[in-house]
């Protein structure tokens, strides 16, 4: 019994040491808050590393500034608290600026993003009007949801009201599982994430509704800083501009297959 207690104590102390020494000393750290369930912008790769288009951009900025990059996966619901308490320096994660212009200090947008609908190929649905009376899934607090609830866009409101039901999910993986088992008929989602999901899943099973008319909203991604933190924003913006000018930005976009949607320096 005593030995067991001693062993438990030893484990817990060792564990404490392991977590306690996570941060190394460096001149300046740059902590990026991101949702690690948002490929291809920020997610966990096969080796357990946090990777993605946005994280690569952040890494390049840090390299040029001589900062140490800290990748901090956050609970998306707590992003504002994380930012204002100073636990993270910015939110860099396919972060839609439209509708949030006044809530953060933003860089220039670097990705043109739109919201699309993904349906099961077998359903035969071709355009968004056919979604009337159907069940549509969306991620909570996402731009797709914001677009559907945009009171100033009567088309979107009418579209939303035509659905039998709009269900909010904690993450897109769960939404797609529900789409796969037929409990929902469509998923409203960012185009970049939609492409990733369709490519990763069984070929030909899911399709995106094609055509500009079927897009829900056109919006832009930018890096969000705490309101008033212009100094840090300006430094990051300047570095991003340099990266766009010397082609590094395009290279990184190519690596992630996002050349069609990036807009920095265009």
């Amino acid at each position: 019994m005593k030995r067991v207690l001693v062993a438990l104590l030893a484990i817990s102390m060792a564990a404490g040491v392991l977590t306690g020494c996570g941060s190394k000393g460096s001149d300046k750290t740059f902590t990026v808050g991101f949702d690690a369930e948002f490929p291809p912008y920020g997610y966990r790769d096969d080796n357990g590393e946090y990777v993605g288009f946005d994280l690569d951009l952040a890494a390049e900025v840090c390299k040029r500034q001589g900062w140490e990059l800290v990748k901090q996966p956050i609970d998306w619901d707590a992003k504002d608290m994380e930012l204002s308490s100073g636990a993270i320096d910015c939110i860099w994660n396919g972060f839609t600026m439209n509708g949030r212009e006044d809530a953060y200090t933003w860089t220039e947008p670097y990705v043109d993003n739109s919201q699309v609908f993904v349906v099961a190929a077998a359903s035969g649905v071709q355009n968004k009007e056919e979604l009337a009376g159907k069940v549509v899934a969306v991620q909570k607090d996402s731009s797709a949801l914001a677009a559907l609830n945009d009171e100033e866009n009567s088309d979107n409101i009418a579209l939303r009201d035509s659905f039998a039901q709009l269900i909010e999910y904690a993450d897109y993986n769960t939404a797609f599982m529900d789409l796969e088992q037929g409990a929902v008929d469509a998923v409203a989602i960012d185009i970049g994430v939609a492409q990733y999901q369709i490519a990763q899943r069984e070929a030909g099973k899911f399709v995106m509704l094609q055509g500009e008319d079927n897009k829900l909203a056109v919006e832009q991604y930018a890096v969000g800083f705490l309101k008033g933190n212009d100094e840090l924003r300006d430094t990051v913006q300047k570095t991003l501009d340099e990266m766009a000018a010397d082609g590094t930005f395009t290279q990184i976009a190519e690596k992630w297959g996002l050349t069609d949607s990036v807009c920095l320096g265009k």
Partner: protein
């Protein structure tokens, strides 16, 4: 991704889960006893304070308590906490929450001992402290083991709430892998991890129950 790589990554998250589990028990079990004493104290003020504490801890969601413990220093006192505060904050929140439940379990155990035993001990010349440590406590321990096991197993599963303040324990890792691989397998694998761990916990508690099967 092979099942082996996935398990290896889950194991990393599992280490965090185990850390939360062990540290929470380490501190909440003794703290619960103190709260239980407060709850049964002869002093009315201490009794009421303990009652309010238990009532708040049991009456509000653990998720909210985690958020409050982590963010209150900044939002209430404007103190800047480093990112190293995340893990301690999780532990503090879990400890104060679980101590409240343990306190009530202890109280049930202590109050289940017949008054006659206290009277008999007094007649035999035992002091109050002696009565508690030598006569009451050994009986309480064996009586509270089953409900404590219940709480302990719940704790294993509650650790997934640590991600509220971005501590990536096993379930979060499973969800992240699931999102990247667009698969549900990592979640099921995490379930296997939880089940095996709880099996170990339950067996250990059963062993303790056997060890304490005295006075029969």
């Amino acid at each position: 991704m092979s099942l082996l790589t996935m398990s290896a990554q889950l194991a990393e998250g599992f280490l965090i889960t185990v850390e939360i589990f062990v540290l929470t028990l380490l501190f909440s079990l003794p703290l619960g006893l103190i709260v239980a004493f407060g709850r049964m104290s002869g002093c009315k003020v201490i009794r009421i304070i303990s009652k309010i504490y238990i009532s708040i801890m049991r009456g509000t969601p653990l998720m909210l308590q985690i958020i409050v413990v982590y963010f209150a220093p900044f939002y209430v006192f404007r103190m800047h906490v480093g990112t190293g505060y995340r893990f301690p904050a999780v532990i503090v929140a879990f400890v104060i929450n679980y101590a409240a439940y343990f306190a009530e379990i202890y109280r049930a155990g202590i109050e289940s001992i017949p008054v006659g035993q206290y009277e008999a001990a007094q007649v035999l010349g035992y002091s109050k402290a002696q009565t508690f440590v030598k006569i009451i406590l050994p009986q309480v321990v064996k009586r509270v083991l089953p409900p404590v096991t219940n709480e302990t197993i719940t704790l294993v599963k509650d650790t997934s709430m640590a991600f509220t303040i971005s501590i990536a324990e096993m379930f979060t890792v499973a969800k992240q892998i699931g999102a990247a691989q667009t698969s549900v397998v990592p979640l099921l694998a995490a379930g296997v991890f939880y089940y095996i761990f709880n099996l170990v916990v339950a067996s250990f508690m059963e062993y303790l129950e056997k060890k304490t099967s005295y006075y029969r």
